[in-house]
Point group: D3
Chain length 318, copies 6
C-alpha cells in the first residue's frame, strides 16, 4: 500500500515536514469536519462585522493558524506535557460566516458552536472581533450562566455604539442581559485607555464584574491577580476570553483598537498558567487583525496565547 504523500503528521511529528511547509492547521492537528470524539475543538471565527474602528480581524484565523503551525511545538515547557497527548483535539476549520450580514453570522457561529458542545467537546475559538464571543457564549452557556476570566484593555460592556446593540464593544453586556454570564463570577484584567465618558465602566461595576484596571494590575502584580481571579470565578464553570489588545501594543500592534501601557506576553503567560485546574468550559483569543501587522508578529503572539489556553483546557480532561 502506498504511503501518504504530503502528510503533515500532526503536532508530535514535526520533523516529517518542515514547520514552514504543509497544509496549515492549528498546531498541525488533523483537520476534521465534526467535533465527534473530541475533547477540544479548535475553530476559526473569521468575522469582523462588529468592528467600529479599524477592521481586518476577519483575517485573524488564517494567520494565527499559520503561525501556530510554524512556531508551536507540542510539548509545554512548564506543564511538562503535550496537551495534545492528554486530550483529543482537532482543527475544525473556520465557521462559515457571512461577511456582510451580522445577524446571519451570529446565528451561524452559535449553531457551529452548539454542535461542538452537543458533541461533548469544548470550543477553543480564534476571532474575529470580540463580538464573536457572544454567540459562542450562547452555545456554551445555554444551560447555565458561566463565570469568565477576561483579558482585555476594554470592558466591552457598552450598551450601544452607533445606536447598535451588537458590536465589538458590547458583547458582555448582552451576555449578562441574556443570562449567559454571571457577572459576580467575572473578572476583567488590564482595563485601560482613554474612555468616552465617566460612565464607561459603570455597568460593569454595577453588575458585579470585578474590574482590574491596569493601575490595579501593576499594584497587585501577577500572582495576586491570579489569586484574585481564582477567588472571583470559584469552582463553577468558567469561560476564558483573551482579547489580544490586552497586551501592550509593543507586543501586539496588529489589532483594531490598541491601547498603550498594557502588560507583556510573559505576564499573560504567567496568568493563564495560573488558571490551571479551573472548570474551564471554553476559551477564545480574538482581535488579531493581520492587515494591521503584515509581518505577523501579533498573530504569532496570538498563536502562543492559544497554546496556553489549549493547555489549560487540556487539563480539564484529566
Amino acid at each position: 500500500m502506498d504511503e501518504p504523500q504530503g502528510a503533515d503528521s500532526g503536532p508530535d511529528n514535526l520533523l516529517a515536514m518542515p514547520r514552514f511547509a504543509g497544509i496549515t492547521t492549528f498546531f498541525r492537528l488533523p483537520h476534521q469536519p465534526s467535533a465527534e470524539g473530541l475533547d477540544v475543538a479548535i475553530a476559526g471565527v473569521p468575522f469582523d462585522g462588529g468592528m467600529t474602528n479599524k477592521n481586518g480581524a476577519r483575517h485573524g484565523p488564517r494567520q494565527v493558524r499559520e503561525m501556530s503551525h510554524a512556531h508551536i511545538r507540542p510539548f509545554h515547557p512548564t506543564s511538562e506535557r503535550s496537551p495534545f497527548r492528554i486530550c483529543r483535539a482537532a482543527d475544525l476549520g473556520d465557521v462559515p460566516i457571512n461577511p456582510i450580514n451580522q445577524a446571519d453570522s451570529l446565528a451561524r457561529i452559535e449553531a457551529f458552536m452548539a454542535r461542538i458542545v452537543a458533541a461533548g467537546a469544548k470550543p477553543l475559538s480564534v476571532g474575529g472581533d470580540h463580538l464573536v464571543s457572544l454567540p459562542i457564549l450562547r452555545a456554551v452557556a445555554r444551560e447555565r450562566p458561566v463565570g469568565m476570566v477576561h483579558f482585555d484593555a476594554h470592558s466591552d460592556t457598552y450598551d450601544t455604539v452607533f445606536d447598535d446593540p451588537y458590536d465589538n464593544g458590547t458583547p458582555f453586556r448582552r451576555a449578562i442581559e441574556e443570562g449567559l454570564l454571571a457577572p459576580e463570577r467575572t473578572i476583567q484584567i488590564g482595563i485601560r485607555g482613554s474612555q468616552y465618558s465617566a460612565d464607561d465602566l459603570t455597568f460593569a461595576r454595577q453588575s458585579g464584574i470585578r474590574v482590574v484596571t491596569i493601575d490595579e494590575y501593576f499594584e497587585l502584580g501577577n500572582q495576586a491577580v491570579v489569586a484574585l481571579a481564582r477567588r472571583v470565578v470559584g469552582d463553577g464553570p468558567v469561560y476564558l476570553s483573551f482579547d489580544v489588545d490586552a497586551l501592550d501594543p509593543a507586543y501586539a500592534p496588529g489589532t483594531g483598537a490598541p491601547e498603550v501601557g498594557g502588560y507583556s506576553v510573559r505576564d499573560a503567560q504567567v496568568m493563564i498558567r495560573g488558571l490551571r485546574g479551573l472548570d474551564v468550559v471554553g476559551a477564545d483569543m480574538v482581535e488579531v487583525a493581520p492587515p494591521l501587522d503584515p509581518l505577523g508578529g501579533t498573530a504569532r503572539v496570538g498563536a502562543n496565547i492559544l497554546f496556553e489556553l489549549m493547555d489549560v483546557l487540556a487539563e480539564t480532561v484529566l
Copy 2:
C-alpha cells in the same frame, strides 16, 4: 446525519465559505495524500537550498496556496470553462523536503513526483527555487527527453556556481546532460539582465536551446513568440517552467534574483494561453520568495500564473 463543519467546499462553491477563510488549499481543491485517480496533482516544493543569492523561496508554496485560495475563482475567462471540471485535480500538500540537506531533498522531490507520474497524473508544482525543476524532470522525463517552454530572466544553464553543480542557476544544464531535456525542443523566453561574462549563454545556445532575449521578445511581440515556441517544441511531450522573475519586478518583486526590464503579467497570460493544445506533461511555477514581498503581491501573481498553467494542463485531458 451530521453535516460537516468547517468544510471548504472546493473551487466550485466559493460562497459556502468566505474566500479569506477556511483551511487553505490550492484553488480550494481537496487535499489528498496520493495522486491516485487524478489527472493533475498540485504540490508545493518548499526547498530553497539551491539559492545562491537572496533566499526565502522555501516559503513560496504556503503563500501561493493562500493567495490561490483567496483570489482565484474556478472559471477561466478566456478558455470559458473551469479547468477543475474537465479534469480531476487535487492539492497533494508539500513535498516533505529536508531544509538543510540538498541531496536528500532532491531525492525526496524526485520520489514524490515519481509517485505522481506512476499514478498516471501530471504534476503541477510550486517552488521553491528553480533547482527543484531538476528532480521533477527526473521523474517526468525518466522515459524520454521532453521539450520545454521556459519563462525566465535567466537561462539557468551555468555549469557550476561556487564550484557546485546543483543550484538554482544550473538545473537545465544538468537536465540536458542527464538526457531529460531535449535542448532543440526547448525555448527560453525573456532572458535578460547583467551577466557574469560573455559565456553565460554559450552553453544554452550551443546545445540548441532557442534563447529569446528580452530584446528579441520586444521586437517580435507576444503573438510571434508564441508561434515560435509552438514551432520549437513541436508535437512531442513538453514541460512548462515559469520562474516568477521572468516578469518585471514591478509585478513580482518578491524573488531572489529580480531583473528589471521584463514583460508584464498580461504578457505572460497571453503567452501561456497560447500554449493550449500542446502535449504538456507537467509544469511548475517557482522562485516566489514571500519574505521579500511580505504583502504577498508576488505570491498573488504566482497564483494567477499557476491558474493559467492549470488550465493548459487541464486541456491535455480532453
Copy 3:
C-alpha cells in the same frame, strides 16, 4: 487684525505651507459643511460593509485625502487649466456612516448625496467599497436613469453573494433594477479575472451593458475604447465610476479583490481625459484599501484618478 495661523491656503497657494503639512483636505480645498454654492462637492464615503473578500476600504477616504493634499498641484497639464479655478469645489468631509450597519449606512449615504444634489452641486465621492455607488446613484439618478462609464475588473452585476442582495459585487444590478442606470448607455472597461461561472457576465450583457473585457481592450486600444464609450453613453447624463482594481495590481495593489493583467494608470488617464465634454452628473473612485498597501501607493494613484475625474467634472460647468 491678526493673520490666521496655520491656514492651509487652498490648492492655488501651495507654498504657504509645505505639501506634507497642515490640516489635510482633498486637494487642499476648503472644508465646508454644506454644498451650497458649490459646483462640485467632494466627499469621502468610508464604508466597507459590502466587502465579501478583503476589507479595509473604510480607510480609503483618509489616505486618498492625504495623498491628494501632498501630491496634487492645482494645474492640470493637458487641459491646461486649474479645475478649481473654473468651478467652485470644496471638501465636504466624510459621510457619517454607521460602520456596523449596512442598511443604515446606505440610507445615510443617499441622504448626504441628495443634499448635495439639492444644493445644485455634483458629487465627487471617494469610497469605500463599490456598494457605495448604489446610494450615490439613488441620489444622483433619482429623477431619470443615467448612463455610466465604469472602469473596473469586475462587472459588479451579480444578483446575490452569500444570499445577500447588497454587497460590492451587486450595486449595478440593483441600480438597473431600480431604474437608476440605463444599461444600454453603460459601458464597463477592463473586465477580467477568474470568474465563479459562465454566467458571471450574463446579466450585464443581456441587460444591454457594453462589456469591454480586457482582451477587447487590448485589441482596440485606448483611443478606440474612448470613442466607443462616447458612442455608448451619448449626450445624456452620465455617471463615472472608477474602481481602483480596474488597474493592474502593479499600480494599485491596495484593494480587496485585485485582478492581474489590467491596464496602467497612464491608460486610465488617457481614457478619462477622453471623456471631457460629456454631461457628467457625478463620479466616484472606490476600493482603495490602505491597510493592504500601507505605504500608500494605491491611495496616491487614487488621488491622481480623482484629480482627472475632478477635471472632467469641472468642464461641465463651463
Copy 4:
C-alpha cells in the same frame, strides 16, 4: 436651516462619525486659525532640518494628528475627567515652516508660538525634530527662564554638530545660553546610549541640569524619579519636553536616533501623570518620524503621550 454635512463633532461626540473617518484634527478638536480665547493651543511643527541622522520627523504632525483622531477618546482614565471639558483647546494646524531654510523656519516657529502666548494660551506642540523646542522656548520663556522636565535618551546639549550651532543635538545648550532655560530647575530623564566622548554630558552637568541616566532611572524607579523631578523644578514655571526616543525602541521605533534599553510607555504615562499640579507653561512631543515606522505605532504612542501632556496642561487652568 440645513444641518452641517460631514461635521466631525469634536472629542466629546465620537459616535457622530467613525473614528477612522472625517477631517483629521488633534483629538477631533475644532481647527481654528488663532489662539484667541484658548487655554491650550495644539500645533504641529513639521520641521526636521535640524536632523543630523535619519530624517522624516517633518511628517510627524500629520500622522500623530491622525492617530490622536482615531485612537484617543476624550475622558482620561486616571484623572477621571476630560481635559477638553476643563479647558478650551483647539488645533491650530501646523506652523508654516520653510522646509529648506532652517533660520527662516526657526523664526516662523517663534513668531507662531509668540502669537499663541500673546493670546494668553499655552502651546502644546508636535514636532518635528528636537531643534523645534528652541524657538518654542524663545516664545514661551521670553520674559523669564523656565525649568524643564525633559524625557529623552539624549541630553541635546552639544555645542555644535558638523560645526553648526543649531541642530537636534544642541537646542537646550542654546536655550541655557540664551537665558531661556534655568538649568538648575531642569531634569533630564532616561539619558543613555553610546556617546561621542567622555564629554557628552559635561556641559549638562556643569550647568546644573539634573541628569538621570537610564541606570539611575532603573535604580530609583518611577515614583522616586517623579518626586525628584518635582523637587528639581519646584514651584516656578516649567516646560515639558518629550522626545519619543526616550522610550525603548520596542515601543517607538519610528524615530531618527533610537537608543535601545529605555523605559516603557507605561513608565512614561506614570511619570507624566506624576507632574500634575506643576506650573506648566507649555509642552512638546517630538521626533516621531513616520517614514521610519510606516504602520504608525510610534505615532500612536506619540498621540497617547500628547494626551497625557494635554491632561497636565488642562489642570493648570483649574
Copy 5:
C-alpha cells in the same frame, strides 16, 4: 604570505563571495579615496536638504550601493562587454556633506567633484535630491557649458520655491543662469504631472530646452525620442541626469515627488543605451529615497539605471 581575508574581489569575481555578503561598494568595485588614475569615479551624494516635499534621499547612496553590490553582475547584455574592463572605475565613497547646512554642502559637493575632474576622471554620482546636480555641474562645466539629457517627471527649472533659490525644483534654472548648461543643447524627457500654474514650463521652453512631455513621449515612441535627443545634444559635451521619478511609480515608488503615468524601466534602458557614443562628461542618478520604499525595489531600479549610465560612460573611454 597570508592571503587576504574577507576580500570582496571586485565585479569580475562574484563567486569569491556571495553577492549578499561582504563590504558593500558600488558594483563590488574597489573603494579608493581619490580619483587619480580613474576614468570613471562613482560617488554617493547623500544630501537631501533641497527637498521641499517628502525627504529621505540622503539615504539613497547607501541602499543603491547595496543593491548594485547584490544584483548587478559585470557584463552588460547588449553592449556585450564589461564596462569595468574597458575603463578604470572605482567607488570613491560618499561626499562628506553637512546634513543641516545647504550652502556648506553645496560647496563640499562642488569641491569633491572638482577634484575628480582635476584628476582626469568623469563623475558618476548617486543622490541625494536633485539639487545635488547643480554643484556637480559647477565642477563638470566649469570651463564651458554642457548639453544635457535629462530624464525626469519635472523640469526642475522653477525660479524659487518657498522664496529660496536652491532646492530640488530649481537646479537647472540656476545652471542655465550660471552658464553651466546650454539650454538649446538640453532635452527633458517624460515631463508630466499636476503643476503649480500655466507658467511651470515657461522658463524651460523660453530658454530653449527641448521639453518632451509624457504625451509627446508616448506619441513618438522610444526610438524617435532617442534620435531627437541625439539631435538636440549634438557632438558637444553632454551631461546625463536621471531622476528616478522619471519612471512610473509602479517601478520606483520610493521617491519624494512621484508622478503617475510615466515610462517603464525597460523604456529607460532602451533610451540610455541609445545614447552610446555621445561625448558624455558625467552623469547622475538621483532622488531614490529608501525610507519611502524600505524593501528596496526603487534602489534596485536605481542600481540598474546606474549600470546603464556606467556603460555609456565607459564607452567614452574607448
Copy 6:
C-alpha cells in the same frame, strides 16, 4: 599631497561624515583583510544553511554592519571608555562562505577564524544562523575546551534534526562531543518556548550545562543570574554566544525561531556588562534575519548587543 576623498574616518570621528553615509563597516572601523596586529577582529558569517525553520540570517552581517555604522557612537556610557581606544579592532569583512554547501562553509568559517586566532586576535562574529558557532569554536577552542555564557531561547543541543547532525539546533552538542566546550563551565540563559518533547533539555542537563530557564531567570533577577554565570564559568577561558532570539520578539522580531516571553534588551545589556573581567576568548551575535524585519529594528538591537560584547572583549586586553 591630496587629501583622501570619501574617507569615513573611523569610530572616533563621526562628524567627518554623516552617520547615514559612507562605506559601511562595523562601528566605522577600518576594513582590513587580515587580523595581524589586532586585538579584536570583527567579521560577518553570512551563512544560514543550518536553518530548519525560517531562513534569512545570511543577510544578518550586512544589516547589522549598517546599523552599527549608523547608530553606535564609540564611547560606552557605563564602562566610560571607548573600547576602540583600549584595543586594536577592525572589520575583516565577511567570511567567504558557500551558500549552498554546508560542509564547505563550515570548513571555510573554521579556517577564517583559525587565521584570526593564529594572528593573536580574538574573533567577534556576526551570524548567520547559530550553526556558525560550531566552526568558530573549532578555531577558538582548538587547544583546550572553553566555558560559555550562552544567551538564547533554545539550548541548541539536539542530537539531530531531520536526521542531520549539523543545523542551528545542534551546535553545542557537537561542540561538547568534540571537546570544544566544557559543559560544566557553560550556562544558558533564557531557555523557553514550546518543545518537541520532554527530552529537549535532557542532554544539556545531563552533560552538566547550567540551564537557566526563563522562569528561573525571572525568579532570580538580573544580578543573581550574572553572579551565577560568573560562578559557573569561573576563571578559565570563556566564549560568549548571543542568539538574538534570547530577547523577547517585541525587541527582536526579525529572527527565524522567535519565542515569546523573553527578557528585554535592557536586561541583556545589564547581564553582558556584568561579565566584564572574565577571560573572554571570543564572542558572537547570531540569528538576525533581516528579511523578517525589513525596517531593521532587530539588526539595530543586534548592533547594540555587538557593541556590548565588543566592550567586554576590549577589557580583556587591558
